[in-house]
Amino acid sequence: MKRFLPALVCSLAVVALSRHWHPSVDFAYVGPGAGFAFLGSFLTLVIAFCASVVSLLIWPFRVLWLLVRRRGHFGAVRVKRAIFLGLDGLDPNLAERWMEEGKLPNLARLRAEGCYTRLRTTFPALSPVAWSTFATGVNPAKHNIFDFLNRDLRTYAPELSSARVRIEERVWRIGRWRIPMSRASVELRRKSEPFWKILGRNAIPSTILRVPVTFPPDRFEGRMLSAMSTPDLRGTQGSFTWFSTRADHTCVEGGLRLPLTRRGDCYEGCLPGPEKTRIAFTLSRENLLAIAGQRFVLKVGEYTPWVRLRFGRARGIVRFLLTKMAPPLELYVTPIEIDPEHPALPISHPGYYATYLAKLLGTYATLGMAEDTWALNEGAIDEDAFLAQARLIQEERERMYFSALEHMRSGVVACVFDTTDRVQHMFFRHLGQESRYARVIEELYRDMDRVVGRTLAFADADTAVFVLSDHGFCAFRRGVNLNTWLRQNGYLALKDGAEESGEYLSGIDWARTRAYAFGLGGLYLNLEGREAHGIVRQSEAAALKAELIERLTGLCDDETSEIGIQNVYDAEKIYRGPYRDAAPDLVPGYAPGYRAAWSAAVGRVTRTVFETNDKAWSGDHCVDPAVVPGVLFSNRKLKVANPGIEDLAPTVLDLFGIAAPKWMEGQTLCAE
């Protein structure tokens, strides 16, 4: 081998030199991929450059067009910006008490420098009703939202009053072939016109964040992120999943209780998604959760970050929370919320706005009522875990809200924080008690005061600020089942002489029923020509209503000797508008401490009229609207005495120099 080595080196050197001195042509195939990639990125730059040039060239015309659109109200404009900070359910009694005690310095400052008043709410005092009135400036008979639920007049079945999601079957025809397609159609059932659409038509942009009853979002000149009534991926209003190694798997309200099964060193579970899809996961001894190729180390009492999951074509987000180590090991999973980066349903306007927010500020809860009150009611999570969840959601919304304020040059920003409502619902029982949670509501109010303080930093002389709530709050100790009362007093009959009915009015003998209660705030006559099996003639309706008002007003709870119903309102006197047919005929005004019983809310007839509420959900506002007004603070002096929530829409139009349309009922609160 050593003999041949010099010869080999020499021959290689000769070949190399000969190629150097006598170059030849080699052929190779270069694919188009690299070229496309290079030109593709170059094309993006060219398009961006062209768009910038075009934008610059048309800028004077755009400004001119904007001035033309704003010409009608140019001289009358009072502000450049308006901010609505909605604090759902902020109660005037508590706010006033804590302002006096110096615990809410920013609200107190706003009161001293601007104004403060109690704000009249709607009939009934429910968030979807009141915020719809805030948006449109009209009473419920003009915007069609009277409760959380609407009744189907053909079947007496309940449906969500604010939005309807349906699967539409369609067929694509291509020549001889037919391709069946289906898609979700979403319909907003709030009628009339919100103020942000009117502002948009007048070239005044708005950013509307999480104002209730905005799913699906309105199409208008501005940006909107949907809120209350946005469903989860399972199509419900939020159903959690509760995994456990315990053998007995009882049913739970508002969620699913499922097993964790032991396999070797791990536990295995399966998370059900929409339309029978499932995602399997494992949980190791070291609390390592493995799901859909992602791994998270779980700690007891600590939520994971949002976990992205794909169920077929739909994408969702969840958080996991290990609530208990063995025995039994328990794992809570939040409802599967719509992933804002890839929304399965329209949750923002423009459609990309939800994605933009997620990319800019991190992903966030999209569910209408994201704080999981049922999980706390059912014991899937404890008070600390509920508060931690509410805090995480609050932080996400604050990021969105303050980002919107930072980017606002002119126009309106309206944002509603509903943590105030959810936490008061769940912690009212601790208020004034010897409990480690006794100060939770006070701390919540102080936290909201901090948000008010940060908001005021954005308010200059050209900015109007309104801090408002849609209703107040009170305790919920006793429930009233009006259907039971109606049966006991001969207005409602059950089939086959039964003593109790099933859910949602099943088992009612409509041929012998003259009146029924439905939802949280309504009493209806079984009216001939309106209800499918109506028996009350139009000519008898007024007398029947008068009789019910007389007998129900002052209805006494024998167990406590307290008045349960202090007023009953006739729809004729409180509603006027084209959607009166959907309205209740009577609205009971429950006394503080009382509300529609849990059994009544789902349309069951039971044996007792009054029942004790022993759930964690211990505060409520579905009472006589006169006793739960909201609050209104502003940095402007306001003029109207006894303002109502319907006055805010005409007020903001007036601030921007736009006359309120004639169908709007509220009055402007701005002083001349």
């Binding site: 079947t155 009339s192 016109e193 159903s239 309200e253």
Partner: protein, 64 residues
């Protein structure tokens, strides 16, 4: 605009309707026409199954 279609209607019928829109409390002629259609559709369309409607309400904190 996406999700909206234009429909041709008899002009005199629309004129009659326009006069009543404000009086009835609607915000526009479109809202009035949509409401009239919805009322008739509710009578003619098949109702959604009660079970499915109830399932969609699951998780609504105020109920149950």
């Amino acid at each position: 605009m996406r999700g909206v279609i234009a429909v041709k209607l008899n002009k005199s019928l629309c004129e009659r309707a326009k006069k009543l829109v404000e009086k009835a409390g609607y915000s526009s002629l479109e809202e009035f026409i949509e409401h009239a259609m919805e009322r008739d559709l509710a009578r003619l369309e098949e109702a959604e199954s009660k079970e499915e409607l109830i399932r969609k309400l699951e998780g609504l904190g105020y109920l149950k």
